[in-house]
Amino acid sequence: MSFAFSFLFPWLLALLMIQCVAVKVKKPPHGWRLTTILAIISGIIAFLPVRGLPLARWLIGIQANFSFPLIAVVFNKAWEHASGSRLLDRQASMASWVFGLFSGLVLYPMALGLGGFDPYAFGWGFSWLFVSLAILTIALLLIKNRFAAVLMACILGYDLNLLESQNLWDYVVDPFFVLFSFAALSTWLIRRMGKPLSD
């Protein structure tokens, strides 16, 4: 299962990149017919064999476990290009950025050797990490934040072993998602600070 699933992120990324190029050349990729054609082209690119390996698997050689929130961010953007609407609204995007940055700060410094405590160890089996994520998901559901659906996808993916990793952390965060969250939050903060205060 994880082998087939590994093509999802590279395929979505290829689709998003083509859509972005279309936007740049002033040909907005709206409409489902055009999106279907672009999706097929993206699929061909993802499966394109290069020196015996599909192009998607070259990306997997660098990072085999793209987190579900990152997949959701890319899917959301591709969906927005295709339909003009957003699956992750403003609140959900903000929740995902804060979640990405916070998870990255909790996980990476200690998992890479800062101190003797390793938070990554709590992702191998049921632990406080699972309880915390369940509580967060329910809290987000109660305030009707759509990022809850992404967190539900994380635990569903974990139960179904969709990623190569057996650790729940890899389903909820990855270095690229943390970088994206940091960049998005920083941009938002800079823009907000640049805006004049309203009465």
């Binding site: 997997i60 101190g115 089996g125 659906a149």
Partner: protein, 387 residues
């Protein structure tokens, strides 16, 4: 979203978390695994203490061989593995396997490639730039396991671990399985020293991480119906102690000896009282270490044998030391190698079912040497050292 939809989503969330929660509840009924002690020996050489030496690999000339490990198979044959190529980290590096029939001097088979860059890339279905450290061992079902390093980007800090198993003494192998052990691009996990058998049939493999931090860990592997489940716990954090070599004292107690990569150039040691779940803070021993691999072996009477480079800077010698007081003090018993400017490194020891101790190590980076001795020889050397 309606209130009904929210309620349904909450129920689904709870059900999704109930799956790992149920597995956890079921595991509460099981006792945590303990170390399985080595089987008793069946000595066949009751005569004089003996020590023999041989090379198990041909001379690589301008090339390099490194990081050997050895194990005994169910039929009494020995299997050894190492990596070799034009130089360390070269793209033509491959993992080699050689097999030796029991009791026949000089009968190591010609080394053959088990994995190379192309086969690893094909089996893992991703780009592999080069190969590194292999570790060969047998499990409780007498199958051969090979854990080895692959690198896609960068140097050793870009290492990931992979696993292969053989049911037929190394003639054929399962395709490689990638083990995801690090949250940061799954890099910087390496393997070196002897694995431990656990009471529940799982394995505890000492591994280490070297990226921003340099520290030792244990990889816990269990195989069920051909699928491997893994988890990892840390022995110590920081930037000082890597390449743990663990010896078991009883089902709960063990000691780990470390290569030191700190400025304090001395072998490190830590202990566990709960079968590897937690470890004491590593301490430096009164044994020098030039940032080089060490290897420990438990002997009869609670003694510990350690192979190491007796130097603060180079790997120009290979020394054996013995401790009879759980590692507190050490007595040098034999210098296996010494040659100025040469390299004798990465020792790996194993005691076979007849009590013979097999030591393999890198010899001048050109060959893998195999030294065999028994506890009688150690006792003889100990008497000499004491006298």
């Amino acid at each position: 979203m309606s209130r009904r939809a929210v309620r349904i989503a909450i129920v689904i969330t709870l059900l999704l978390y109930a799956v790992p929660g149920w597995r956890w509840l079921c595991s509460l009924n099981q006792d945590p695994p303990t170390f399985r002690l080595n089987q008793s020996f069946d000595p066949i050489d009751q005569g004089l203490p003996r020590m023999t030496q041989e090379f198990m690999s041909g001379d690589h000339g301008a090339g390099t061989v490194h990081v050997a490990s050895i194990c005994e198979m169910a039929d009494g044959r020995l299997a050894a593995s190492w990596y070799g190529g034009t130089r360390e980290g070269a793209r033509d590096t491959a993992i080699y396997l050689a097999v030796r029939n029991p009791g026949m001097p000089g009968s190591w088979s010609a080394p053959r490639e088990v994995v190379n860059r192309d086969s690893a890339s094909r089996e893992l279905r991703r780009y592999v730039k080069k190969l590194g450290n292999p570790l060969i061992f047998t499990d409780s079902r007498n199958r051969l396991w090979l854990i080895y390093v692959t690198i896609a980007v960068g140097g050793w800090s870009g290492s990931s671990l992979n696993l292969k198993v053989s049911d037929d003494g190394g003639r054929s192998w399962t395709p490689s399985t990638r083990l995801t052990l690090s949250p940061f691009l799954n890099v910087s996990e390496l393997v070196r020293n002897n694995p431990l058998q656990m009471s529940d049939g799982s394995l505890a493999v000492p591994i280490y991480h070297e990226f921003l931090g340099k520290f030792s860990e244990i990889l816990w592997v269990r195989e069920e119906d051909g699928a491997f489940s893994v988890r990892k716990t840390r022995i110590a954090g920081g930037r000082s102690f890597i390449q743990p070599s663990i010896i078991v004292r009883d089902p709960h107690r063990a000691a780990a000896f470390f290569r030191s990569c700190s400025d304090e150039r001395a072998v490190g040691m830590a202990t566990t009282q709960d079968a590897g779940a937690t470890w004491s803070e590593p301490q430096h021993l009164d044994l020098p270490n030039p940032d080089a691999a060490v290897n420990a072996l438990p002997l009869s009477g609670g003694r510990i044998l350690l192979a190491f480079n007796e130097s603060l800077r180079g790997r120009e010698n290979l020394q054996l030391a013995l401790s009879s007081d759980n590692g507190a003090t050490w007595q040098r018993i034999a210098r296996i190698e010494e040659d100025k400017g040469a390299e004798f490194s990465y020792p790996y020891m194993m005691q076979d079912s007849h009590g013979r101790i097999h030591l393999v190590y890198t010899w001048h980076r050109r060959r893998i040497k195999h030294v065999v001795f028994d506890e009688g020889w150690i006792n003889l050397k100990l008497q000499g050292a004491s006298g």
